[in-house]
């Protein structure tokens, strides 16, 4: 019964996405269950995007932006962090669980960190189980 989990990663073009790219070039192994969505900046992510990802069947969502102080657009990553916090509250109130969404900061050369992020989200889902929504949508 190996139902594959689905993890959505909203990745900033400059850091999150670049680090994933580098991880690939370095043949680093991470879960194939992660679906990466490339954004011009983590600041582009909206509460609505994250909620929709869950409605579409995600078990967990992460946002990977640049290191704080290093955003290409000054503070897009700070905005993203606030929105992730807000989404956590909504998910907790609905009963999906705020821990299913997380904000990470990563630099473009930190391929290992990208792998860590995916591992972290995978282990969270392993621990708390698949999204309660799947009962309905599966």
């Amino acid at each position: 019964m190996s139902v594959r989990m689905r993890i959505v990663g909203f990745c900033c073009n400059y850091c999150g996405y670049a680090s994933a790219d580098l991880a690939g070039l370095n043949h680093m192994e991470y879960s194939p269950d992660v679906m990466i969505i490339r954004l011009p900046c983590s600041g582009r992510v909206d509460v609505l995007h994250i909620l929709r990802a869950f409605r579409e069947g995600a078990d967990a969502v992460f946002v990977a932006g640049c290191l704080e102080g290093n955003c290409n657009y000054e503070y897009g990553n700070i905005e993203a962090k606030k929105r992730v916090e807000y989404t956590k509250r909504i998910l907790s109130e609905i009963g999906i669980g705020g821990e299913r969404v997380e904000m990470f900061n990563v630099a473009s050369n930190m391929a290992w960190k990208f792998k860590e992020i995916v591992d972290e989200m995978v282990s969270r889902v392993e621990k708390i189980g698949p999204s309660p929504l799947k009962k309905v949508t599966a």
């Binding site: 609505l48 909620l51 909504i90 609905i94 009963g95 999906i96 929504l133 309905v136 949508t137």
Partner: protein, 235 residues
């Protein structure tokens, strides 16, 4: 403008239980500016409700719409088509908008999505402060442009109470300045400190809510019977 904040999602959900076809209706006026019930917030709330419905097999149908001003019936009437067939409207407008919505659609249950708080202004992004209590008899000319009715915890009219300390109000010292301390300094700047010496007599609250729900009439704006008849077709 009118300042409101969203009700806790859990409360909204509880109040919607038992309904199925739900319209989340926002307002582009005050509550959009205070980030409580504009198009953006409507989108988030609607999606949250859909998620909740999916989780609990509620089969809720959640639609969303945001009108220009929910407090004006003309705008509210415009959404008639989308309202039809709904069995609940979650009004993301202020208490005024929610009531107008209910008036226009008396057979559909209107559930408030916001807690309407006060008449205020943004202090900085994300922070709003009460400025006016709508007492119907403005005293700002006596108080250096700062309202003691709305901004003093005790609505005092004759200067700060004994709890004014370092310019802060004792009720919420961390967040609230003492209005009378502000008034004092404003009058000082304006060279009108003598106003602080005057005793302001007991206020006539008849113009406030104490006189009953208020109704403002601007005679010259009221349409005559002829004008109403001529405009009738337009409505």
């Amino acid at each position: 403008m009118i300042i409101a904040e969203q009700k806790p999602l859990k409360e909204i959900i509880k109040n919607l239980e038992g309904h199925r076809k739900i319209l989340v209706a926002g307002c582009r006026s005050c509550v959009a500016i205070c980030l409580a019930g504009g198009e953006k917030e409507v989108g988030i709330i609607a999606e949250s409700l859909r998620l909740y419905s999916d989780m609990h097999d509620h089969l809720w149908e959640v639609d969303e719409i945001t009108v220009e001003r929910q407090c004006e019936k003309e705008w509210v009437k415009e959404i008639k088509k989308i309202v039809e067939g709904k069995d609940a409207i979650l009004s993301m407008a202020c208490g005024v908008g929610a009531q107008v919505m209910q008036e226009i659609y008396p057979d559909i249950r209107v559930v408030p999505g916001l807690n309407t708080s006060n008449m205020g202004a943004p202090e900085e992004q994300g922070i709003w402060r009460e400025k006016c209590a709508g007492c119907g008899d403005c005293v700002l000319h006596l108080t250096g442009g700062i309202c003691p009715i709305a901004r003093c915890s005790k609505s005092l009219l004759n200067g700060p109470c004994g709890g004014s300390q370092n310019g802060r109000c004792e009720v919420n010292p961390e967040t609230t300045p003492c209005a009378w301390d502000q008034i004092y300094h404003s009058l000082k700047r304006l060279g009108k400190l003598e106003l602080m010496e005057q005793i302001i007599p007991p206020k006539n609250w008849i113009t406030s809510h104490s006189g009953g729900p208020r109704r403002i009439v601007k005679q010259e704006a009221i349409l005559t019977a002829e004008e109403k008849a001529a405009k009738g077709g337009l409505e």
